[in-house]
C-alpha cells in the first residue's frame, strides 16, 4: 500500500471498506456517513500531538490539525435520513462538545464522491 500511485486529488490506500469489491453501486443497501468533530473551541489534544510531530517528519506547512470520527452506517433498505440524524444527534455525537455532519454519498447527484473517485482508480 505504501507508495501506491494516486491520481488527481484522491489518494487512497483502499476502497470503501463497507462495499465488497465488484458490487454494483446502486443496490438496496443505503449508506450514510456521519462526521463528528470536536467543537472548534474545545481543545483537541490528539490533533495537537499530530501537529507537533509534523516538523519531525520534515513537514512545516501545516497550520492546524483536528481529529474527529468518521462513522459509516449501513441501512437495510431505504435510506432514512431522519433516522440517521436522530442516531447522530442522540448517540454518535455529544452536542455539548461535538458537532456532526451527515452525508449520503450514494445519493449524491454527480456520483463523484470521494470514494467513488477512489474506486475508479483501482
Amino acid at each position: 500500500m505504501r507508495g501506491r500511485p494516486y491520481a488527481g486529488i484522491e489518494a487512497t490506500g483502499r476502497l470503501d471498506p463497507l462495499r465488497p469489491p465488484n458490487t454494483s453501486r446502486r443496490n438496496a443497501v443505503a449508506r450514510v456517513v456521519v462526521d463528528v468533530m470536536l467543537k472548534p473551541e474545545i481543545l483537541d489534544p490528539q490533533g495537537q500531538a499530530v501537529a507537533n510531530a509534523l516538523p519531525r517528519l520534515g513537514v512545516t506547512g501545516v497550520t492546524s490539525v483536528r481529529i474527529g470520527k468518521r462513522i459509516e452506517l449501513e441501512f437495510d433498505g431505504e435510506l432514512d435520513l431522519d433516522q440517521a440524524r436522530e442516531i447522530a444527534d442522540k448517540l454518535l455525537a455529544n452536542p455539548v462538545i461535538e458537532d456532526f455532519v451527515i452525508h449520503a454519498p450514494e445519493a449524491r447527484a454527480s456520483g463523484a464522491s470521494a470514494f467513488g473517485t477512489a474506486e475508479a482508480e483501482k
Binding site: L43, P45, Q46, N94, I97
Partner: protein
Amino acid sequence: MTRVGVVTFPGSLDDRDALRAVRLAGGEGVALWHDDPDLQGVEAVILPGGFSYGDYLRCGAIARFAPVMESIVKAAGDGMPVLGICNGFQILCEAHLLPGGLTRNHHLHFRNRDQWLRVESVTTAWTGRFDAGQNILIPLKSGEGSYVADEKTLDLLESSGRIVARYVPGKGLAEGDHNPNGSLRDIAGITNEAGNVVGLMPHPEHAVEALTGPSVDGLGFFTSVLSALSGKVSA
C-alpha cells in the same frame, strides 16, 4: 441499614469495590443491573468506574441508554443522591444530569496515580463529612478525564459553589503537574444545582482501607451520604 445501589453495566469494573466501600462505611450495598429498571428500594445510587461498553464511541455514551438509567434520571430529579465515579461521571454528563463533558487526557495517555484533591463544596449529599478546603489523597485512573465546559458554564459552577473538588499540588506530585489530565480550572468533580448528583473523576472507593489504598480519605464520600440520608429520615 441504609441501602445504597451500585449499578453494573457491561464493562463496569469497580462495581464490587464500590459495594465494599459502602459496606465499610456502614451501609448496605445493593447490586443493580443495567438491564433492570428496578432500583430495589435503594436510597442512593453509585455509578461505578470501568469501561462500560468498552468506552467505545465516547465514554458513557452507550451506558446512558440502559434501562436502569431511566429510573436513575427520574430518581435524581426527585432528589435521590447519585454519585458517578470516573466512568460514572462520564455517564452522568452524557445523560445531562451534570453539565459539560469529559474528554481525552491532554497528554493522550491513561494515567493512574495517587492524586491530591481539595474538597471545595461540602454541602452536597456526598461531601457533608469533609471540611471545606480539606486536602485528600485518592487514586486517579483514567484516560478521558479532562473536564470541559464552555466559559459560561464554568463561571456558573464557580459562582454557585458547584465545584466539588479540584486537583491540587501535594506530596509526591511533581511541581506544576498537579492537574493530571488538563481539566479546565483543575476540576476533579462537580455537582448539580440541588447538590444530590455528584460526578468525580478520581476513585474514592480505592481509598477506603489502609492495606490497599494510599489513604482512607475516600471513605468520607460514603459516610457522607449515609449521614445525609439518616439525617433526612430523622428530620
